[in-house]
Amino acid sequence: MKSGHQHPFLGGLPLIVRKSLRQHLLSTVITIVSVALAAGLMMAVFAIDSQTYKAFTGGPMGFDAVLGARGSQLQLVLNSIFHLETSPGNIPWQLYTTIKEDPRVELAIPYALGDNYRGYRMVGTVEEILTRFEYQPGQKFSLQPGGRIFDSSRREAVIGSFVAQKTGLGLNSRFKPYHGLVFNEEDQHGEEFLVVGVLEPTNTPADRVIWIPIEGIFRMGGHVLRGSGTDYQAQSGQEIPDEHKEVSSVMLKFKNPQAGFALDQTINKQGKVATLAWPLGSVMAELFQKLGWVSRVLSLVACLVVLVVAGSVLASIYNTMNERRREFAILRALGARKRTVFSAIVLEAATISALGALLGFVIYALILAFAAAIIRNQTGVVLNLLALHPVHLFAPLGIILIGALAGIVPAFKAYATDVASNLSPHS
């Protein structure tokens, strides 16, 4: 006759929990949403921290080192790799030609900065950036259909995909640059550039750059070259003598890692003219170490939020204990053991936490998408929304555990409910 036997202890628990959650639906939903916010926040803080670290220290930089003016290596990297910050100064053209000829150097590409178009940097450089440079192993910049590489002797530009998307520039568009690295509408140059190519997205800071021939920067109206130590302004139709030329930085790719050690010795430790930022990952890692306290504070705040939410799980269940004393007494009178009632409350707290943690993934995705959009807008660095991190496992598990622990306090109250005195209704 028996059709569906269940374990007498476990059988009733899911039903009791489900009924209780339904009976206190409003407080259950509010608590689940609070847990979800805490879970999402915690996962987002840890995941964004980890992903930005990876993106800025080990992401697709494509170069091994940056040679620039004497000063901060970090500033050099931020300026030349991530196209952020100001340039620490210029170095003579001769340094570029010298290092380019160095047998240890596989690729040397000069960058000359100084102008922007609506906040997007114009980088004066050579064709090799588009023909030889690999922003990821085996991956060179590629042009969208119809585009071509700029002609070094013309005022032509190849623009990154993000620039095209944000400024509306496209193939055959013409634009006039603005002076400086910060967009100032009143400071526009008279020279007009023609867009001859739009790059396919690379998901790197290069997407935010307008590439033009280096001569374009040299010859921009009002630009003064001080490569020889004296002021020189390029004249139309006249070749610029090399001694007057200067560049903001030289991007370097070495033939082997030993070259980095050797050049570091020669340029940074023995020389006084320039700075070699190398290795790039370590330079950026230093920045993250300096800013490590920020992520530690954020992590701490996220953990505290989880604890606060654990408190709210406790409070939401504890507040129902008085009205549920009769329910527990009835359950006990029906044969439920004390530990069954205790387990039901702990399971209820764990269920609220688990549902919250599950919903937390949605909150996490929203926060991450928002943060990724901001980071991409500001730096061009793209975070991988689907990248897994241990926090995706440990945060939900930890929250469920903490939630279950929070349920222990009300569970003890339920455990201690006196059956006989609570079987009659209380007015």
Partner: protein, 227 residues
Amino acid sequence: MPILEIRNLQKSFRSPEGGNHVILDIPEFCLEAGHQAALEGSSGSGKTTLLNLIAGILLPDQGEIRIASRNIAPMSESDRDRWRALHIGYVFQTFNLLQGYTALENVLLGMMFGSGVDLSFAKELLHRVGLSDRMNYRPGQLSVGQQQRVALARAVANHPQLVLADEPTGNLDRQQAQTALGLLRDICRENGAALLLVSHDPHVLNQFEERHSLDSLNCAAQGGGEE
């Protein structure tokens, strides 16, 4: 063969003044298996306390309570809970149905702590008490008479050997009380369960061949009870 045997049972409560108030002192009581007995007692005479002791919800200060020859007094609380779930059905004056649960779930819940869920038997019981079309109703959606019928079905859901009924008709009008009482007795008979019903309602008590007066069983009632 007796299903319930009580010997030298004593139960006292601490009074607000600090003294020990003996509420029950029953030298002997027994109920044969399958029999139905009514226990008469005035309000405050310790009827509910006695049923709670028999159900293992309360522990006696001394004495034996044997159900199916097994003394439940020395059992641990957990064992008494299990024993109660498996061997005893309980019907309360206030029905004590769980409000968030449907009629069917209330019956099933009783089974969950006992021998296990038997959906078809739970439905059969609700059908037997005339609630086939109300199985998915919550107590608040049922009349008091219907609620008491759900409570009856729940009380016998685990095939108990003994059903305790504490003023089961106390909240019902005369007609509903008569129906519920008849149903309770029939359903116990059909399931082979003995019935011990406590009441102070003469109309209910008169329907039982076997009647006991708690006041005469209980020495504490005769002697004042203060220790």
